[in-house]
């Protein structure tokens, strides 16, 4: 039971947003642990003296953000944090994690040079004898591997990258801030992939199990500068797309 209601009706912030922040704080501080059932909508209405619509909106948003899981007929539960991934152009893994307040670690599995194989030369618009810098990184959240990322960059775009310590670095930031290569366009393709033995071992999944595969082609102007293949644990990521309809003149 709360002694004084933290929902302040005099604040300009909408009630459901205030409630969303409050409930999110409970989850993040561990007051509501992962797997536990949260109070029912009716209980939350009474607890915070707000309408059912306000509670519904706050809970729905928390579910959308991956904090809660609603189970028909059973209730709403705190779930293992899913990392929301907006399809924004510059949403690097680091930025997403920092924004979401999630601590992560990066292990560089490979940073070497190779020739284009399969259709990488076509994707990156390079000749088939042009060297590519190959970077493979494993990202973990709470010591659990969640993302296996492979990047292919034509060496002539950024040869200095081979000397760079990329363990804690964002490739996007390096391109833009350090090497003055602005990323102006990205093409994203999302699909379900089945992991091979090596990928499964790294991500802690069973061989041939499904994972989210995001392939991205980054451009600076009209020049493709990086092809990235990100294999994500399906239980730790979800994508959302926000579409704003622009007012017509």
């Amino acid at each position: 039971m709360i002694t004084s209601n933290p929902i302040d009706r005099d604040r300009p912030q909408k009630l459901y947003v205030q409630l969303y922040d409050l409930l999110k704080g409970k989850i993040e501080k561990g007051a509501w642990s992962v797997g536990s059932q949260i109070p029912t909508e009716d209980e939350l209405c009474k607890l915070y003296e707000v309408s059912k619509a306000t509670v519904k909106l706050a809970v729905l948003e928390l579910a959308r953000q991956g904090y809660l899981r609603r189970q028909q007929g059973k209730g709403t539960f705190v779930c293992k944090r899913v990392i929301p991934e907006g399809l924004t152009m510059f949403a690097s893994f680091e930025e997403m994690m920092l924004e979401a307040g999630i601590t992560f670690t990066t292990e560089v599995l490979a940073k070497t040079v190779m020739m284009p194989t399969e259709d990488l030369d076509v994707k990156l618009a390079v000749s088939d004898d042009q060297h590519l810098i190959y970077i493979k990184r494993l990202r973990s959240v709470d010591q659990e591997p969640v993302l296996l990322q492979e990047a292919y960059i034509p060496r002539n775009i950024c040869p200095q990258l081979l000397e760079e310590n990329i363990t804690g670095a964002s490739l996007f930031k390096l391109f833009e801030k350090k090497y003055g290569i602005p990323i102006t366009k990205v093409k994203d393709y999302i699909e379900i992939a089945h992991v091979n033995e090596e990928e499964a071992g790294l991500l802690g999944l069973k061989t041939d199990s499904a994972a989210l595969l995001l392939t991205q082609l980054f451009y600076s102007g009209e020049t493709p500068i990086m092809f990235m293949r990100s294999l994500k644990r399906p239980d730790r990521f979800k994508f959302y797309i926000e579409l704003d309809k622009k007012a017509t003149q």
Partner: protein, 174 residues
């Protein structure tokens, strides 16, 4: 050495050569050789692919000879062919096995990683080493190419027999 040239004067850029990581298959290396080496304007001797580890350390070289050996190991396991340097080859014994060489089994073997067929790097030279020392190391190690490492660590180039030979022979004959 009369002209006193050192390795850095004659070495070539590593990016003149195709690179592969050690986990690439023989099949992938075959494709890369075809695109990167077997064209007249890129025919850069010795015809070799450089094999690197995941930290971009040079592990070894793969030549066309190594690929042929990898695709048909029996060829070099046969007693009569055991020593590649022998001047005499038992033609009858070769005829007996010839028809079975480079068969469907070779296609399977092409899926092996290049690390299994590469010639590992045995030695290296430094940018300041003399061409004479390099010539000695090449002959001693039976190789036509050597990596050039700065501070014994950073790969800065490759030195090839063709340049070393030119320097040494010029200094001898004049």
């Amino acid at each position: 050495m009369p002209n006193g040239k050192v390795v850095k004067d004659v070495m070539v850029d590593v990016f003149e050569y195709p690179h592969v990581p050690y986990w690439f298959t023989i099949k992938q290396a075959i494709g890369i050789i075809k695109k990167s080496l077997l064209v007249p304007e890129k025919c850069f001797h010795p015809l070799a692919v450089l094999v690197f580890d995941e930290k971009y350390n040079l592990m070894g070289f793969v030549t066309m000879k190594d690929i042929l050996k990898g695709l048909e190991p029996h060829l070099f396991k046969t007693k009569t062919m055991a020593d590649a340097d022998v001047s005499y080859v038992d033609e009858n014994a070769l005829a007996g096995i010839e028809a079975g060489l480079f068969s469907s089994e070779s296609k399977k073997l092409a899926e092996k990683p290049v690390s299994e067929i590469m010639v590992p790097v045995k030695t290296h030279v430094a940018p300041g080493d003399s061409v004479v020392k390099t010539a000695f190391l090449m002959v001693y190690n039976n190789t036509t190419i050597l990596p050039v490492l700065e501070n014994k660590q950073k790969l800065v180039g490759l030195v090839r027999m063709v340049e070393v030979y030119k320097e040494v022979s010029d200094s001898v004959i004049g």
